[in-house]
């Protein structure tokens, strides 16, 4: 929810991501040109550190060409699983900044920062926070571009690389776009760019002077897109809400269970996982859904609405357990899941309580947080709720 009029979108792009992860894992490589890619004769460059880029090496360049340009660079094979690991940490860091994150590739994401002013301050401060958080949690630097829509945000980040931050205010869009080469606009390359250049249109500023009718006759539907791009428009919000609509956790059981008491133990653990993730993302939900897959694979979901949103394992467990009580599980259950939806939290608007949060809930929250902290430090088995402990062996 925004009360500032404009939408604020951030584009976060990791700097020379694969190469940066290699440097992170092998700090002695710091400062040298590092090139990651297919090392065979026919391989291509996947990622080149900025030191290597200084020699003209670019990603997607044939590897033999890179070797010609920068023979003394450190050449490394692609370790995708490791990059994914780091990427996940980056995305988690971003998830903590805004509930609406749309990951577009392993090293790139959009964040909707609209309505986070209270939380993060003005866009520039939010950008700084994002950079600091990503660096702290993943060890990798990134560039952040911020603008009123995705296109401007992405253009801003591409201009600010590496380790940069550029904020384009809604009022500054025209000035920002005018000098940009048309080739920099998304979707403009190759034939479109040639066609435009042939007509003397070199910059976004030139493009803005062209009538929509003409653009349409040249490029058809894409002409409309160009027109909006040049005017600083373009896709406004995030394409899809990467930010979760629900947070859930499920477990396929090692054997089918038909005892509610047993099922509730599984539910309790799922509820705990869901609560942990909600708390991490700063979200709370008002609907709790129980998912049961029976031994014959029929799927049931049952939902209960709460008056107040919660991020407490105890609340989620109680609601899910109440739903389970009404179900017949005598034929055996093979999968149990718990989900929380109708989320509220950072950027989504949080309904405040008239009577304040009851003391008991506050105590529970402190307890659950303390338990999660112990688990994080000493491992998942270090502390359990009494009920689960009794269930051991």
């Amino acid at each position: 929810m925004v009360l500032e009029d404009a939408r604020i979108i951030a584009h976060v792009d990791m700097d020379a991501f694969y190469a940066a992860v290699e440097v992170l894992d092998n700090p002695e490589l710091g400062g040298s040109p590092v090139i990651v890619g297919g090392l065979s004769q026919r391989g291509v460059v996947s990622s080149a550190s900025y030191e290597a880029r200084g020699f003209g090496v670019r990603s997607a360049m044939p590897m033999f060409r890179a070797r010609e340009l920068c023979p003394h660079a450190v050449y490394l094979p692609v370790r995708m699983s490791r990059y994914k690991e780091v990427s996940q940490r980056v995305m988690e860091a971003l998830g903590a900044m805004s509930p609406q994150v749309e990951q577009v590739s392993i090293d790139e994401a959009y964040l909707d920062l609209s309505g986070t002013r209270r939380l993060h301050g003005p866009p520039r401060d939010a950008g700084r926070k994002i950079k600091a958080r990503v660096l702290a949690e993943s060890g990798i630097k990134c560039t952040v571009g911020i603008g009123p829509n995705r296109v401007i945000a992405k253009l801003a980040s591409s201009l600010a690389k590496p380790d940069g931050l550029m904020v384009v205010d809604p009022e500054g869009v025209d000035e920002f776009l005018t000098p940009l080469e048309v080739g920099a606009l998304p979707g403009v390359g190759g034939r479109v760019e040639e066609k435009l250049r042939a007509r003397g249109i070199r910059s976004a500023g030139d493009l803005r002077k062209v009538e929509l009718k003409k653009l349409y006759s040249w490029f058809g539907k894409f002409g409309e897109v160009l027109f909006r791009l040049a005017a600083g428009g373009g896709a406004v919000g995030l394409k899809e809400y990467g930010g979760p609509k629900s947070v859930s956790s499920e477990a396929t059981l090692t054997e089918d269970l038909s005892e509610k008491r047993e099922l509730k133990k599984v539910l309790a653990e799922r509820a705990r996982q869901v609560a942990r993730r909600l708390k991490k993302k700063g979200l709370r939900g008002r609907k709790v859904t129980l998912k049961l897959k029976s031994a014959d694979f029929t799927l049931k979901t049952r939902t209960r609405s709460l008056d107040s949103s919660t991020d407490l394992a105890a609340d989620i467990e109680a609601a899910a357990s109440g739903l389970l009580d009404k179900e017949d599980v005598s034929s055996g259950v093979r999968l149990v899941g718990v989900g929380v939806s109708a989320l509220e939290g950072a950027g989504l608007g949080l309904q405040l309580e008239l009577f304040g949060e009851p003391e008991e809930k506050k105590r529970l929250r402190r307890l659950e947080e303390a338990m999660e902290e112990i688990r994080e430090r000493f491992g998942p088995a270090a502390v359990r709720a009494g009920e689960l402990l009794n269930s051991e062996e």
Partner: protein, 372 residues
């Protein structure tokens, strides 16, 4: 049991009662209606143990007796009967035969031995009250009742005896769901005779049935007993089991005074909120209300839908204050008020905002904002 009854009377009773019967229950007998034939009337009793209903309808009783029959099937049968006069007869204590003209049904049923006994007649000294007044009070307060069964002590309307201005006695109804609150007080001289003590919580389903009982009546009789409310009209009586537990200390959350206030046309604000509301979704529910000198701006912004903004001119000199609200909370509150203007009193976006009726100082709505 053998009796003759007009179809319209029978349908009135069955239509009224079959919804009260609990269909999904661990106690099958209460999904049945209890029929009692005695002294010129057929009594129809339905209960879900929380709300119980008894309606009495004139009938020609040939043989007195009692029986129970499935509420749903009985309703489905009776509403389809073509003729005016219906004969009901229990055969062999196991079936209810229904005859109307050339139509004949024989419905499975059971004797009423296990049907719970309901204390409809526990109190003889019920207090006669103005039905319209009770109806109006309920209408003005019920919208804020909680639907969250986990917070059972707010799942009903709180009835409380109070002392009003100049020592006048009054009845107050308060409801809340933890995010908003509605309160209405009306003078009632004999409020103490209701037997309310410090106050009682009437559950939401009971409130719904109470509204039906009041419908088209001028006077009804009310009285609280231990754990129950009895409400009686000419030929119907409800026994509503009260919600146990303490209603929260609502007085503590009603702001004693607020720094700022603005008067707004009720219908204007309602229309504006209705226009802005479609932009909100369950996920992006908050709507912003900004009050600044000379105007109130209502807006919503939702990355999934777009934005909306509308301005209302008002007389206001105070500081600019922005608050986020669930639009439904505002709409419900405006709908409960009848006069032309409401007065919003507020401090900031984090503390309760009161919505008052310009012409009714005994109504009060309190809405807690959403943090934006």
């Amino acid at each position: 049991m053998n009796l003759e009854i007009e179809k319209s009377e029978l349908l009135r009773g069955v239509g009224r009662s079959h919804n009260i019967s609990e269909r999904r229950t661990s106690m099958p007998i209460i999904s049945n209606l209890l029929l009692e034939a005695e002294r010129g009337v057929l009594n129809i009793v339905a209960t879900d143990l929380e709300v119980s209903f008894r309606g009495s309808y004139p009938a020609k009783i040939n043989t007195a007796g009692t029986f129970t029959v499935g509420a749903r099937i009985f309703f489905d049968v009776i509403k389809r009967l073509p003729a005016d006069d219906v004969v009901l007869e229990v055969v062999e204590g196991a079936r209810l035969n229904v005859r109307a003209g050339s139509v004949f049904y024989s419905l499975m049923g059971v004797p009423p031995d296990d049907f719970p006994s309901i204390p409809f007649d526990k109190r003889a000294d019920l207090v006669e009250v103005d039905a319209e007044l009770i109806g109006e009070m309920i209408e003005k307060s019920k919208f804020a009742v909680s639907t969250d069964e986990a917070r059972y002590n707010i799942t009903g309307v709180f009835f409380e005896p109070v002392t009003m201005k100049e020592e006048a006695k009054g009845l107050r109804m308060v409801s809340t769901d933890g995010h908003r609150l509605a309160l209405v007080t009306r003078a009632m001289e004999d409020v103490e005779a209701l037997g309310l003590d410090k106050g009682s919580i009437v559950p939401r389903k009971g409130i719904r049935e109470l509204i039906r009982l009041i419908d088209e009546e001028e006077k009804i009789k009310l009285g609280f007993v231990d754990k129950g409310l009895i409400a009686r009209s000419k030929d119907e009586v409800l026994f509503i089991r009260l919600v146990e537990g303490d209603f929260p200390n609502y007085r503590a959350v009603i702001p004693e005074s607020s720094e700022n206030s603005v008067k707004i046309g009720r219908l204007v604000l309602m229309e504006v909120v209705e226009r802005v509301k479609p932009i909100t979704t369950e996920r992006y529910r908050a709507m912003g209300i900004s009050v600044s000198p000379g105007k109130v701006t209502v807006r919503a912004s939702n990355p999934e839908r777009g934005e909306a903004k509308e301005t209302i001119e008002v007389e206001y000199e105070g500081p600019e204050v922005t608050m986020g609200f669930n639009p439904d909370y505002i709409l419900d509150n405006l709908a409960a008020v009848k006069s032309d203007a409401v007065i919003l009193e507020f401090n900031d976006g984090e503390s309760p905002c009161t919505i008052k009726d310009e012409e009714d100082e005994n109504f009060l709505g309190v809405v807690m904002p959403m943090r934006l």
